[in-house]
Symmetry: C2
Subunit: 391 residues, 2 copies
C-alpha cells in the first residue's frame, strides 16, 4: 500500500532536511539534503537525454560512475544550466561543502538543481544553506516532507510516496516537476531511497527499467529538460535481502505513484489523459504512436474542450514513426468505439469527456506491441502559466 | 514582382471558378474548379506524408502517376478522410462527374478536400456544385479570387500570388490553411499553375524542391494532415520555354509568398517567428534543430509573452536529433547575443520582442549546415480557436 505521507526517510538509514537558504528571492524553502548513513552506499542515476546538460547533471553523472553515493544535495531557485565552467565549479564547490560538513568525499555527493536556465547560483546562500540543512537533518514525517518541499518550483504540492514490503524493507521517495519534461520551470527531479539489501548490480538495472516504464511515460510537453534526474540510494539498513523481482516491483510502484502526482500537478491541467496503443509491430512502436498523440497540440486542445475529435487522433497516429494500415485503425475514446477499420463507427457524442479522466485506446492491428503514455490537455491555464512566467 | 491580386488564372490556358455548392452548412463558397485548357497537360503533385491519407489524396496520387492533369476539383466543408471504401467511391464519382461535364477522362482529374475528418461528403451537393462551377468557369481577377476563396475553412482571407517572368511566362497559385500542418481544420491545399513551356521531367522535380524549401519549412503545430496536397499544372499556353533555373525560382517565389500568407493567417497568432540554425553538421540537421525549437510549446508560449527566454531555446535544441557541443552553442534573439558558448552573454532585456516578428538565430559551430523554419507563437487565441472548434 502506497503511503503518501512518507518519503525518503521512510526507509531506515536515511536522514533528510529541507531549508530556506535564500536562493529563491521569495524566501521559500530551496535547499534539500538527503544523507545515506548506510551500511550500504550503492546508488544509481538516470539523467536527461538532452544534449544541453546542466552542471549538476554533468557532476552527478561523473560521481555515479562509482555506483556509490552518501548524500544528495538539491536546490530549487536556479537550474545552474548554461552557466559554463564557472557553473560547474559552483556545483563542485557545493558537493565539496556537503562532503566537508559530513566528513565524506565530494565523490560521494550528487547535486541536483532546478529553476531558471542561464543564471549563476547565489553561492553564499547555497553554502550557508548546506550548514543549515545539516543541522536540520532528521527522520520521520516532518523531515521527509521538508525535503520534498524545498525542491519544488511551480509545483503546488510536495510529492512523496513510500511502500513497505511484507519482508520488512521499504522504498520511499519524492519528486518535483510535471514529467520528464514539465512545463514552465521544466525540470523533473526525484530521489528514491530503500533500506533493502540489494545486489549492487541490481540497483542500476532496476532504476533504469522503473524509470522507463514510469517517468519516461509521462509526456506533458515533449522532450526532456537540461536537469532531469532520478536517483536511487540504497542503505541496506533493514538487513533484509529483497528479491530482484520484488524490489523492481516496489521501486516501480513508488515511481508510478510519483508520476501520477506529477501528472495531477502539471500547470493549468484540466484533463488527465491516458493513451494506450495496442497491436503495433513492437512495444517501441506502440509507445511512439501513443507519444505522437500525447504531443499533438490539436489533440490536446480537443481534450481541453472535452471534444472526442477522433479525426485529430487518427491524424496524429498517422504522423508517428509506426507502421500500420489506415484501413485497420480502431480508436476508442472513454469506451466509445468512435473509429473502426479507419472509418466512423459509434457517433462521437457517445464518448463522454466531461470528466477529468480521458482514456484513448488505439488498436493498429499490425502486431502484438502495446504501450501507454500519460499526458494532459492544452488549456488556457497552460498558456497562462507558461507565458506569464517572468524571465 | 509578386502580385497578390492574381492567382491560378494569371497564366494563360487556365479557367477557374469557386461556387457555393451547399457542402458547408453555412452556405459559404465550398467548391473550386481549375481547368487546364492546354496545349500541355503536364502536372505534378506533392502529398501528405501522413500514413492516414484521405480518399482524395489516394485518388490524386493514383491519377498523377501519368504526369498529366486537365482539371482539379477541390471542396471545403469536409475532408473525406477516414471514410473507408465508400469515401473513396465518393472521390471517384466526383472526378467522373468533372470528366463527364468537361469531356475528358476521370484519370485527368485530381480531387482535393478539406474540412472535418471522418464524415462522408453530401454527394448531391458536390455533384450539383460541379455543374454550377463549370458554368462559372472564367479568367481574370474575379474568377481567380472565387477559386481561392471556395477552398478556405478557418482562413480569414483567400491567399493568392502570381509572378510574370520577363520572357513572358507566368506562375500563379492559391493556397489555404496554415502550414503543412495547420491548426484546427488542419489541411493545407495549394494549386500552382503556369503557362511556361517546361520539359515534362522538370515539372515534378521543380515542385518537389520548391515545396521542400517553402511549404515544408512552415511548422505551426507539427506533423502533416490527412489531406495536404500541392499541385503544379502546366498549360504551356504562353508558348515560351522557361529555363529550368528560372522556372524553379519563379515557382519557389510563388510558393514562398503563399507560405508567408499562411503563416500570417494561422489561427490565434500574435508573433511570426523565424528560426534559423547555422553551423550544423548537415543542412538536414540544421532544419531538424530549427524544427525542434518551432515545435516546443515552452518556446512558443515564451514567444507569445514576448519573453526572450533563451534557456528554453537551448533546451529545445538539446532535444533535437542534431549533434553539437553545448559549450559552443550561440543563441541570438532579435539581434541580441543572449547566449554565447553555451552561457549567458547579453542580458535578455536587450532583446526586444515587443513587435510582431521574432528572429531566433542559433549557431551550433559543428559544421556548415544551415536551415530555417517559420513558426508562430502559442497563444490564448490558439487554444481558443482549436478547442472551440465544434465537432
Amino acid at each position: 500500500m502506497i503511503d503518501r505521507d512518507q518519503g525518503v526517510t521512510a526507509p531506515q538509514g536515511f536522514r533528510a532536511a529541507g531549508v530556506a537558504a535564500g536562493i529563491k528571492p521569495n524566501g521559500k524553502p530551496d535547499l534539500t539534503l538527503v544523507v545515506n548513513d548506510g551500511p550500504s552506499a550503492a546508488a544509481a542515476g538516470v539523467f536527461t537525454r538532452n544534449q544541453v546538460k546542466a552542471a549538476p547533471v554533468l557532476w552527478s553523472q561523473q560521481v555515479l560512475t562509482t555506483g556509490s553515493l552518501r548524500a544528495v544535495v538539491l536546490n530549487s531557485g536556479g537550474a545552474n544550466a548554461c552557466t559554463g565552467p564557472a557553473g560547474f565549479q559552483d556545483t563542485h564547490a557545493t558537493a565539496e561543502k556537503v562532503a566537508d560538513v559530513l566528513g565524506i568525499g565530494a565523490i560521494d555527493v550528487a547535486v541536483c538543481s532546478t529553476g531558471l536556465i542561464g543564471e549563476r547560483l547565489p553561492m553564499n546562500a547555497v553554502l550557508a544553506g548546506v550548514d543549515l540543512a545539516v543541522k536540520e537533518l532528521g527522520r520521520g514525517a516532518e523531515a521527509s516532507l521538508a525535503a520534498a518541499t524545498a525542491v519544488i518550483t511551480t509545483d503546488t504540492v510536495a510529492k512523496q510516496a513510500a511502500l513497505t514490503h511484507a519482508d520488512g524493507w521499504t522504498v520511499g521517495g519524492f519528486a518535483k516537476g510535471a514529467g520528464m519534461c514539465a512545463p514552465n520551470m521544466a525540470t523533473m527531479l526525484s530521489v528514491i531511497t530503500t533500506d533493502a539489501v540489494v545486489a549492487r548490480s541490481t540497483v542500476d538495472e532496476t532504476l533504469r527499467a522503473a524509470v522507463e516504464s514510469t517517468f519516461n511515460r509521462l509526456d506533458v510537453d515533449g522532450g526532456t529538460s537540461t536537469n532531469d534526474t532520478v536517483l536511487l540510494l540504497v542503505s541496506g539498513a533493514a538487513g533484509v535481502e529483497a528479491g530482484p523481482e520484488d524490489f523492481a516491483a516496489a521501486v516501480t510502484a513508488v515511481c508510478a505513484d510519483l508520476v501520477a502526482q506529477l501528472q495531477a500537478d502539471a500547470e493549468g491541467v484540466t484533463k488527465h489523459v491516458t493513451v494506450t496503443v495496442r497491436g503495433a509491430a513492437t512495444a517501441a512502436e506502440a509507445v511512439a504512436a501513443a507519444r505522437a498523440v500525447a504531443q499533438d497540440n490539436l489533440c490536446k486542445t480537443a481534450f481541453f474542450a472535452g471534444d472526442p475529435n477522433w479525426g485529430r487522433i487518427a491524424m496524429a497516429v498517422g504522423n508517428a514513426p509506426t507502421e500500420f494500415d489506415q484501413h485497420k485503425l480502431d480508436i476508442t475514446v472513454n469506451g466509445a468505439a468512435v473509429c473502426r477499420a479507419g472509418a466512423r463507427a459509434a457517433h462521437r457524442s457517445e464518448a463522454d469527456l466531461s470528466g477529468r479522466d480521458i482514456l484513448v485506446e488505439i488498436d493498429l492491428h499490425a502486431g502484438e506491441g502495446v504501450g501507454t503514455i500519460l499526458t494532459t490537455d492544452l488549456s488556457h491555464g497552460y498558456v497562462e502559466e507558461n507565458s506569464a512566467y517572468s524571465s
